[in-house]
């Protein structure tokens, strides 16, 4: 029981670290790319572009915790590939995130949709690789919490 709460706390801390690092890295990359393209390189605008990523990563981490706790606590004998569920969720979230951020870039930087789509995709590929690594580490601790 003590170990369980400890592992859940570790998973929660990992989620918080993921969101903080992701938003910082995302904002820095957005600012850098915008200044490279000679666009408006304000910190506030760069942070706003990364807002959909922050919201979606929050939703995904909550969903992941929910699935792992349900699968391992209520149905311990079921063998479901949790990693597959997480990957499919990440891929769909990537598409949603790309479009939302593209619309935001189009609106905030006042650029064409083609340019904004390319701009956003570059940033999100880096952010989603980071998210994937964190999801892997977090799910390891969540499974440990569920089975202990």
């Amino acid at each position: 029981m003590i170990f369980q709460s400890a592992f859940y706390s570790i998973a929660l801390i990992i989620s918080i670290i993921e969101i903080i690092t992701g938003s910082i890295i995302g904002t820095i990359i957005t600012k850098w790319l915008a200044s490279k393209k000679k666009w408006d390189s304000l910190f506030k605008v760069a942070f706003l572009v990364n807002l959909p990523w922050i919201l979606l990563s929050l939703i995904l981490s909550i969903l992941e915790t929910f699935y792992i706790s349900i699968i391992y606590m209520d149905f311990p004998l079921i063998t479901i590939n949790i990693f597959m569920i997480v990957i499919v969720n990440l891929l769909i979230a990537f598409v949603i995130n790309t479009i939302l951020s593209t619309l935001l870039v189009h609106r905030l930087y006042r650029k064409e949709l083609n340019n904004s789509l390319f701009f956003v995709t570059l940033i999100l590929i880096i952010l989603y690789i980071l998210m994937f690594i964190f999801a892997f580490i977090r799910s390891y601790f969540l499974v440990l919490a569920a089975i202990s």
Binding site: L63, Y67, I70, I71, F75, L77, I78, I80, I85, V88, N89, I92, A93, V95, I96, I99, L100, T102, L103, L113, N114, L117
Partner: protein, 85 residues
Amino acid sequence: MFNDLLQFYKIGKDLGLTKKEINQIFFFQKKIPLSIGLLVILIVSILTFFLWNIIVLIYIQNSGTVYAEGTFYGSVSINDFKKKK
């Protein structure tokens, strides 16, 4: 069919049209704006996200243990299955 296509392109080139223009005339294309395309993909992917998670949840709910709770596998015999019917 293939020869007709080639001839169509030849006629287009003789008229001084580019490949893109020939394609547009040939397929009678009206370009869909990128914004509408993006919105459609957004709606479809949000729906897919919900559907996928609902499917996973239904699958988990329906794939519970076969035996009653607290049953030891060693104590399960063929007669138990006969009783089930």
